[in-house]
Symmetry: C2
Subunit: 342 residues, 2 copies
């Protein structure tokens, strides 16, 4: 069932059929109508391999995610909303979004190399950006259009969007400070992911901005998991002078934090203030309700898609947005987990 069959069936040439289907202007309106009609009738759909081979494009964009939960910052529910936004924009351009999973036992750079060399996709989203991320260099060198969710230290001229972890740190510290907290612990990501550093830096700045001293013992690097939060609480409670509040880089950690606090006889939100990160389905059901930050993930997905398309020659004119290098805003959602100290 090739374009040749369709052309024979219509008694016209395959060139005309192709032009009709691809919406080119040099084809009679009546002819175009007949072509579409016949295509629908006999169920013809163009072969993607043939198309890709000819024009060197696949009409697909890949979203690379790590399946290693230790380095993946966000809980798994994070991406589903983002995908929705991306797909909404892509639908207008007949682009397909496919998710490419980096196996947990494979080096992310190796995985990316394979993805790129197989030419599965015309462009890529990469996430969990590390401080110095060799994947970015590789993509730039190979001239593959891509958008980074998260920024690296190098900055550079590629598009990226990063969540406003600086805003998270400042808003959290200010809020706790205004409520009378003087010793505030912070649990950040322990892997080489860049936001672990960004969050720590912002924490120190925010302390200074609120005239609070910085104590290195209160800055914990941990796995972004329930167990990470659990262990971080342990370390903070062992200090000679305990903090009265904890700020977390990740809401999944909060589950472990709550649990450990309960185990040692402390009530989260009374004996210890906690501010998590994202307002996710899980965090919303913590008791007492977690103070955290809402992120418009669907809109973020839309913006990510726009930013990527703006760097792709074939779509650039329809998305004249320039180079996207943006901090994505977060919005404080007050809960009941961070009252003034006892």
């Amino acid at each position: 069932m090739s374009i040749r069959d369709l052309a024979r069936h219509l008694n016209i040439s395959i060139g005309t059929v192709s032009r009709a289907l691809n919406g080119r202007s040099d084809v009679n309106a009546e002819t175009r109508r007949r072509v579409f009609e016949a295509a629908a009738a006999i169920g013809y759909v163009p072969n993607q391999s043939g198309r890709s081979l000819r024009q060197g494009t696949t009409n697909a964009i890949g979203f690379v995610v790590e399946t290693n939960s230790e380095t993946s910052l966000h809980g798994d529910t994070f991406f589903t909303s983002v995908y929705g936004g991306v797909q909404q924009v892509f639908a207008q351009h007949h682009l397909d979004l496919i998710v490419l999973l980096c196996p947990f036992d494979q080096d992310p750079l190796e995985h990316l190399r394979r993805v790129v060399s197989r030419r599965f996709v015309d462009g890529l989203f990469i996430s969990a950006i590390q401080r110095h991320d060799p994947r970015i260099d590789h993509l730039i060198e190979r001239e593959i259009p891509f958008m980074a969710l998260g920024r690296s230290l190098s900055g550079g001229t590629h598009p990226w969007i990063d969540l406003d972890f600086d805003g998270v740190a400042h808003a959290s510290i200010r809020r706790l400070s205004e409520r009378g907290h003087r010793r505030i612990g912070l649990v950040t990501a322990g892997s080489e992911i860049n936001l672990g550093y960004v969050f720590a830096d912002s924490y120190r700045e925010a302390l200074a901005a609120n005239d609070l001293p910085y104590d290195p013992d209160l800055l914990i690097r941990a796995e972004t998991s329930e167990m990470g939060g659990y262990n971080a609480v342990d370390r903070l409670l062992k200090l000679p002078e305990r903090p009265t509040a904890i700020v977390l880089v990740n809401e999944i950690m909060a589950i472990g934090v709550y649990r450990r606090l309960h185990e040692v006889g402390l009530t989260p939100g009374r004996d210890m203030a906690v501010i998590g990160f994202r307002d996710s389905p899980q965090s919303r059901f913590l008791s007492p309700r977690l103070t955290c930050f809402r992120i418009e993930l669907f809109e973020l997905g839309r913006r990510l898609a726009e930013g990527l398309l703006a760097t792709m020659p074939a779509y650039r004119d329809q998305h004249p947005v320039g180079l996207v290098q943006e901090i994505w805003p977060v919005h404080l959602v007050p809960g009941e987990s961070d009252p003034p100290p006892p």
Copy 2:
């Protein structure tokens, strides 16, 4: 950088280069060595589109998942382990796994049609199988190799693996019955997903097997979400004669169940016994610890992959496993959420 460049560089024909790279026998060992060496030196990788066009195969398998959280039975963390197992098997065959997301606002059948017609993949996994699932008919008609995670009512001759929800229901009811519970509520999936019905049927059978009466009021169909569990508890507590135990089809529901119980002054695991479903990272951190069922998801992924490959002519001889239609076992993990009634 095509195979032609590589052949020119070696002063041999492109046919020989292709045969050497593809491991055919009719090529001199020394020649093959030189080909591989030169390919690595100049960084040649075969173009997938050309290859696909010629041999009508893409060397990729798609895993279709719904992003609609209402009909998606499993929490999002469910699939990550499964993917790992699938990828481990696929790696031996140079097959790539790609995840294809059905947009939340698109009909799953429409989405599948598009995926199939674009010939992105050589085979498919589909999940969230409905009672009568038109996707299965479509794939059979188009003769696309596929594996279903979940079984439909029709059964048929296609491969499927379903979780042992029958075992979950029987083990839960028996355990609760042995501990003295007489009125046991069950919350099952409310959508058209088949296991919602399977779970309900097994519930009735298990009641009969333990000489317990069946009360329709105790069988609730709900969304498989936190809110679904929250609302289900509300309905059960309004009954003139309350149940003393609840069995859930999904552990995410348990979060809502715990929360609502707390709100009305009841303590889960003391005033109300709860048995959830899966032993997931989230459920493990509920307090009191949830009695639930462990599933070897990585091994499940491996078996899914084997079952799919067994139906594909190109791989069948390496996976002589016959038609896979299996119930995947679950293992009870005792917690502290289901003591005897007060």
